[in-house]
Assembly symmetry: C2
Homo-oligomer: 408 residues x 2
Amino acid sequence: MAYNFIEGSVTAPKGFKAAGIHSGIRKNKTKRDLGLIFCETKCTAAAVYTTNLVQSSPIAITKQNLANGYAQAVIANSGNANTCNADGDIKAQMMCDLAAKALGIDAGDVIVASTGVIGQVMPIEPIAESVDELASILTTEECGASDCAEAIMTTDTVKKEAAVEAVIGGRTVRIGGISKGSGMIHPNMATMLCFVTTDAAISSQMIQKAVKIAADKTFNMISIDGDTSTNDMLSVMASGLAGNPEITSEGEDFDAFAEALTAVCRRLSRMMAKDGEGATKLLVCKVSGAKTEKDAIGVAKSVICSSLLKAAMFGADANWGRVLCAIGYSGCDVDVHKVDVSFASEEGRIDVCKNGAGIDFSEDEAKAVLIRDEIDIIVDLNDGEGKAEAYGCDLTYDYVKINGDYRT
Amino acid sequence: MAYNFIEGSVTAPKGFKAAGIHSGIRKNKTKRDLGLIFCETKCTAAAVYTTNLVQSSPIAITKQNLANGYAQAVIANSGNANTCNADGDIKAQMMCDLAAKALGIDAGDVIVASTGVIGQVMPIEPIAESVDELASILTTEECGASDCAEAIMTTDTVKKEAAVEAVIGGRTVRIGGISKGSGMIHPNMATMLCFVTTDAAISSQMIQKAVKIAADKTFNMISIDGDTSTNDMLSVMASGLAGNPEITSEGEDFDAFAEALTAVCRRLSRMMAKDGEGATKLLVCKVSGAKTEKDAIGVAKSVICSSLLKAAMFGADANWGRVLCAIGYSGCDVDVHKVDVSFASEEGRIDVCKNGAGIDFSEDEAKAVLIRDEIDIIVDLNDGEGKAEAYGCDLTYDYVKINGDYRT
């Protein structure tokens, strides 16, 4: 492995500071709702966005601002998605203007993001009144990536931070990220908010390539509930302060960067899936033996999305027939008579299906495996070399509770 | 309207008898688990099946038996799906043999279906030991379609029966059906078990056409949980005893038959959606103004499948943003800035979104509309003439409870 996980997140790379406060967008005063990430130097930057036709206003503004491949700050709020609002674009632009003024940078260098309820007018006053205070924290010891990670949480129950260190071009490079879930999450872009920083020197064009590679293997393989959000965004800013020779083309350095970025994204993805709305378990579907990688991806996603399987996993019920069923309707090229299925966790591994048919297994042993909080659903299609992993969670009473009356 | 709803179901048309008993496939002795439908004369017949690559053994055998376009009986059980079993085809064939012997007909004229748990060996003894008793009931007054409708229920809470009467070719014709849900239900055939009988005279070829038309507008537009079952089947048997001139081509008579058949299927579909696992409400998404019918179908299905919207409806929460979101990721050709959304029920109608943006509405009035048990989600895309309806239900604690430990 060409990287090591380290403590921290977006402020681990050189040049970055971050903060998060309660501004008043949310009524609950104990919950931070406005976050800021700032780099002392202008960064190369790129992002990927939701594929939903309904897109938030912050996404529209961020796309404009990142068109030139540069950024220097992120402003992000929770409590309101600023989506489907007649004045949404104006408000998103105002957020950029306010952040730029407070930080003394150009408004065109600000990435803006919002998450929360769709279709309610975005209140700009709380941001206008607190952005200077937020910016001033960056120069104090209170400054912290964890506060920013908290500020973007909605129904998340834990903050999500990860960072790695890698040697690229003879220099130590760091990559760190924060993200939030945890409902309305489904493959096909980015499926949530995630902000990544790095001190690697890398061109905007190559960041864009690396972001796509990392997202396809991680965030695009998560499903919490099958709903693709309107606000999803994964952005990466690179300060270049690590001093490595700038990565401007594919090759060894680019591969090392993409691998390290993917590692950060994978760790955040697993955290997001495990913290899916109401979830009690992380589910990882590991598919091998597919005719093609595309078939492996299709099968892994289909299994991880099955409501019936998700409910069975909540009940620690080894109902492998639901795995077979989900493989069958995946639309992928599969010979169902060759399929093997096993379940595994820290407790061990249990085989439950061979050649598409059930085999004898101990229900007690299966229960012991499935009672754990990280479950692998292992599918071998025995029909080729294609592999893929998808990430999800169980379906629980609490998912229904959380989403039955989210707005009030 | 060229038809009237009447009492009864599969025994309303001339020539048909039905029965259902507890045979012992299920442990619970108070629950019927084996049903029989028999016609005194050989029928023209056709069926549509699940599109899942993993298909039950009864489907394989029924396909063989219906290849010649004729059938005379249906045998169906609940409690075991006879799917993913090494000896499944043999057991399904044995079910046909047993029914044929008891009824004095050819085994090749039997439609066989099973529903229940996947991947557990099908016990044939309970059927062998009780099929004569079951057949003997057909000649007594205990004979009844309702018992048969009960025998195919799994997690269904109510029996599903419907029948209509129509004048076709100058004669009164009847069409009746029974069906069962209620989980693992998703568009793309047939999404459940449904057996329809009619005394209309109609060729096998034209039944096949009519079944496809009816299924596309009804059963293929239901989603309970996004899982397409391995056992789904919709079969139609026509005795011809109504004495109408045989329908052998398209035209007025065929259209009248297809319309009446669709009416039976639509009523059963609404009953199935309303009785979806754990459901407290029927949801009907009515889409109009789409560029094409295909776009309308895609939007209606996407909305009805959204877990987030389903949970919001359970909570009687007018979270229309989730409707917009689901329209946005439907993959259909939609101008999101033209979309209007309303909710309606017996209580009245409330507009919540115009031109893709929220409008002021009374939360109290919305609550009053949404607290009812049959909710219309009305979407006008204002962009063409395409229309479609999809059927679903809310997502509740009980869905999770039912599916968290289904096998035990």
